[in-house]
Amino acid sequence: MAIPYSKRMLVQRIRKHMADGYPNDDFSASTNEIMLYVDQALAMQIRAAAYENAKVEGVLEVPEAFLVTFQLDAPVYDDFTNEWVSTLPQTPISLPIGYSINSGYIADVSNGRSQDIIWIKGKRIGYRRNLPKMDGIYGRVENNTVRLQASNYMSLLGLNIFIQMPFSRTKDLDEPMALPDDVIDAIFMRVVTMLKDRMSIPKDIILDDLPAGNKSS
């Protein structure tokens, strides 16, 4: 069993790399700040990995390691549209639906997992009413909300909604990170590059045993 690799470990590694050792209080990039850089780089890497796959296999695919399943808050009824609204743990990254949200379903102890939620792009909702419809729960995503409606307008009150999606934010710094190890390198490089900009540290001069400043000879 490998040691779980948490976001805190990655942040510490980056801090040590930047400070050339354990950073002291003068080191201005805080853990939270670096965490934000990591989150930002991770989102880019999810997209990169999906499109990489498309180039190799011809199929858009988000690697499973990025996926996390969340139970959403109990859905709230929207009187105006007859939809049930719940909030996603984060705004989905900009992949097409089906990849930005991998799947969704209802589950409970006595019935197990339901059929998957049938995802529809928001722009299709209008004319979709004129087309034949199969039984099931239809869902659309808008910003960080998910809006669900059963084909027979059944109440979704109290149902447990689960959503599986690639997750690029941090919920807990000490949880194992949801990413395949091979993208750690890219994230590390990206964050270090951004931090170099941010801290304006001319690292090559620090590390090559030469005195700081311009060479006079």
């Binding site: 296999e57 199929v59 858009l60 695919e61 097409p96 639906i97 089906g98 990849y99 949200i101 991998n102 799947s103 998957d116 049938i118 995802w119 529809i120 792009k121 979709r128 087309l131 034949p132 199969m134 039984d135 239809y138």
Partner: protein, 246 residues
């Protein structure tokens, strides 16, 4: 989902097969189901529909409304005493004028030509073989069909229009009926590959030619259209006749 191979399978399952084949995401499900629905309509109409037969009473105005749920008709006839359906002649001359009117008969009774040619339907059975009280083949005259009446179909008003002196109380209506929908449709398993090919074609992942060849292959293996030795034997025996051979 069962792994048994049955004669029919749900449309959803076929959609899942298609999604698996092209490794698509869950979001394509709805779109693929609609494509599968279109494929089903196409295949049903062209080859796969199983006609159902209902017996319908003839209305007093000698018309018969289509039974509910019927998409189209395939055969209209009367039942004979051998348990066979004896089809009616399709008479394009019959007018569909006022065919939904309960007083249709009195309306068309007011005809412009009152002294028509003698009506020969009194002896319908030997129509083309009758001469001078004996029944014999007439040289140069086609055999004709033995008909128990004639009808025409008003597709728009969904009624079968019978001739004014149609003699029977009921007709048999054989037609293609809308598939029963219970959350999903159940489809003959022979349609699995054509529907998958249709979805791939419409999703730009396959070609129309693939769909057509899958359809042809499926049609040849449809339960009622499959050739068996028994059928070939029957065709040969029935086409055997005393005749000139080249």
């Amino acid at each position: 989902m069962t792994t048994d191979i049955n004669s029919h399978m749900p449309l959803k399952e076929i959609v899942s097969f298609a999604m698996d084949e092209v490794q698509s995401s869950e979001a394509a499900f709805d779109r693929y189901w609609l494509l599968a629905f279109r494929a089903l309509v196409k295949l049903k109409i062209s080859m796969a529909a199983e006609p159902a037969t209902v017996r319908m009473p003839v209305s007093p105005n000698k018309t018969v409304p289509f039974p509910p749920g019927s998409i189209t008709w395939t055969k209209i006839g009367v039942l004979n005493d051998h348990g066979e359906l004896s089809s009616l002649k399709i008479n394009r001359g019959l007018t569909t004028w006022k065919d939904t009117n309960p007083n249709r008969l009195s309306q068309i009774g007011n005809a412009d030509i009152q002294s028509g040619l003698p009506f020969l339907l009194d002896s319908p059975y030997f129509f083309n073989y009758y001469q001078n009280g004996v029944f014999q083949p007439l040289f140069g005259v086609g055999g004709g069909l033995i008909q128990y009446g004639s009808c025409t179909v008003d597709e728009e008003n969904r009624v079968v229009v019978l001739e004014p002196d149609f003699r029977y109380d009921h007709i048999f209506f054989e037609g293609i009926f809308a598939p029963e929908k219970n959350g999903d449709y159940t489809v003959p398993i022979t349609l699995l590959e054509p529907i998958v090919a249709f979805i791939k074609w419409k999703d730009k992942k396959g070609t129309r030619e693939e769909f057509i060849s899958e359809s042809i292959e499926a049609r040849r293996s449809m339960p009622k259209k499959r050739m068996s030795l028994q059928v070939i034997n029957q065709v040969l025996r029935e086409s055997e006749a005393m005749k000139l051979r080249s």
